[in-house]
Amino acid sequence: MAEGLPQVDIDLAALPLFSVLTSTELDAVTQEFDEEYAQPGERLLREGFVGTGFYVVISGEADWLVGGQRVDRSATLIGSPPKPVTMRRGDWFGELSVLFGEPSISDVVALTSMQLLVMPGHELEGFLFRYPKVMFQLLKGDARRLRDPERWR
C-alpha cells in the first residue's frame, strides 16, 4: 500500500472544541460541518475577503499570516523570543471574521496536506447557540489566546 494521506479518524470527542459533547451530540455536530482537503500552499482564509467560513483542523498544519508575514504572537511580549504560530489538529480559525462580519484580517495557508471541518460563516452563530457548550469552549480557547499569546495552543 502506497503511503498516502493518513485516513484520520475524525473523532470529534478528541478535539478540545467538542470534547464536552455527548456521543449523540457529536453525531449531530459531525453533520453540521463539511469536510475539506487542502494541499500544501493552499489558502484557506484570505486576508481582506468577506464571506469566509469557520474551520477546525483535523490533520496537518497551517501558517497564520498577516500582510503576508507569519504571525509572531510573542512579538508583544518584551524579552520573549519570536515564536510564529502554527495551527495543528484541534485548532480553529475564521471565527472572528465571521462573528464580526468583517473581512478576514489574516491569511491561513496550509503548510502540509490538511483535512479540515468547515462551516459556512453564516451558520456559526446558530450553531453556537444550539451547542452552548461548544460556544463556551470556543470562548475559553479564544480567551486563552488573548491571555497568553505565546502559548495559545
Binding site: 500500500m1 502506497a2 498516502g4 482537503y37 489558502r43 481582506g48 464571506g51 496536506s113 459556512p120
Partner: protein, 499 residues
Amino acid sequence: MSDERTSPPGEYPLVIVGSGPGGLQLSYDLSRLGIEHALISKDSGPGGMFRRFPMFGRLITCSRPHAIVDCGCPAYFRYDWNSLVTEDETDQALVTEFMDGDNYFPSRAEMESSFAAFVERGGVDARYDCTWESTRRDDDGSFVLGTSDGEYRAKVLVFAVGMIEPWRPPTPGIEDVPHYVDIAESGIDYLREKKVFIIGKRNSAFEIANGLLAHACQLILGSPHGVRPSITTGFPTAPRARYVQPLEDARFGGGTFVVDVALERIERTSDGYKVHADGTSGLGKVVFEVDEVIACTGFATGLGDLRDLGVETFYKDRLPTQTPYWESASVPGIYFAGSAMQGQAGMRKYGWPSHSASVGGFRFNAQVQARHIAAEHFGYEPARPEVDPESAVDYLLSQATSEAAIWSQHSNLARKLTVENGAVYDDGISVLMDFVDSSGPDAIAITVETTLEGEIQPCAYVRRDGDVREEPFDPAWMNDFRTEDNRARLGEIFAGLGG
C-alpha cells in the same frame, strides 16, 4: 469476427475512463483542442449513472424549455442545468430537444437520449464494454491501465467514474440494510403498505420518501442533523424543492415523520427491524419498530486500485484530494472529471459550495480542465483574443449578467481579462481560487456571488501589482448588472490596471 470498436488497447497520450456526462464532455473538449485520447467505458453505451439513476425517473435539476434567451445560445445554458455544452451549434444535443414538454425536470430516459445524440453529433468516440480493472505505473512514468480488452498506456489519465458506490457509516447492523443503490436494482414493490425507516435526510433520502408516499403506509426519515430545505436557506442544501412533499406531509401529520436522531444500532427481527436511536434535540432514546430500513447515507467515488498508486482521499475515503484543476493532489498526471470534481471545494464564498457534483457545474469545469491539461502536458497554447480596452468594462459586466459558466459556478469560475503592455487579453473562463492565489500581471476576474441576504451580485477580483483584492458590486434589478453605476465603478478600477 473482428472487433470494430474504436480505441483498441495500446498507447495514447491520454485515456479517459468513464462515459457518463463528465467523461463525454471532457472528451469533446479535448478533441476540439486537438488532444488525441481514448475514452473507455464498462457500460454498453453513453450516459454513466443516468443509465440507472435517478431511481424515480426525474432529475432534481431543471432544463427550462422556454427561456428568456434562445435555446442553444451560450447564455441559454444558465437556464438548462443538464445539457452538455458544445461550441458548435450543429453539435448541440440539448436535453430540452428530447423532453416531452410536460415537466421542466427531464426524465432519466430523456437525459440518456441527449447524451447519445451528443456522442453522435459531437463525434465523441468511446470504446464501450471495456472495463478498467487495474492501474500501475511503469518506470518511464507512464500509467498502464489493465482492462477487460487489454492494456492501455498513457502519460495522463482522467477518471470520470462517478460517485455512485454505496457508502454507509459504521452504525452496527447497517451492513444488513439495503442501500439506495440496491433499491434502484430491486424496485420498490416490496415496500408497498410497509412501515419504512429511511436513514438520511439528503436528497437521495427525500427522493425515496417522495417516491414512497403513495406506496408505504408510514415513512420515518432519521439522521442526527435537522432539515434545512433549500427554499428556506436560500442555498442549495438538501432537500431541494423537488422533494419537499414528504416534509410537508410530516408537518401536516400525514404519516411521515422527519426525526433528528443519532442511530445507535439496527436490529433485525423476525418480521422487520428495530432501529435504536437517541434524539439529538433532547427527546431522549427511542426504538422504531418498522418493516423495512433503507440506507440513504451517501455515495463514494469508484476509485478501484488508485489508492495503491498513491491517490489520497478524504471525506471518509469517499473523494480524491485534488488541485484547483481537479488533478490528484498526490499523483500528478491523474485527473478527475464528472461528479468527483466536487472534491475541489472552490472558494466557498458566503458558504456556497461548488456546483461540481452535478452536470450543470462540472460541464464547465471540463472546458477549463481540458485547456489546462492541453497546456500542461501537450504544449497547447491557448488562444488569447485581444479585447478593445474601450469595451472591456461592458464585456465584463455582460459576462456577469449572462455567462452560463459563471452563473453555474458562483464564486468558483470567473471570466478573466489580463492587462499587459497596454493591451487587454481574454484569458477565458478561469478557476477563481487559482486566480486569487497566484501571482501574475494585472488582471480582473469577474464572477457572481450570492450574499448571506440572498442577493446575487457580481464580484470582481482585481490583481494589481501582485495583490488580489475583491470588489463586490451592488445587486441589480432582474440581475442585469450593466448599470451606469457599475460601468463607472468598474471603469475606474480597470483604468488603474497595467500602469
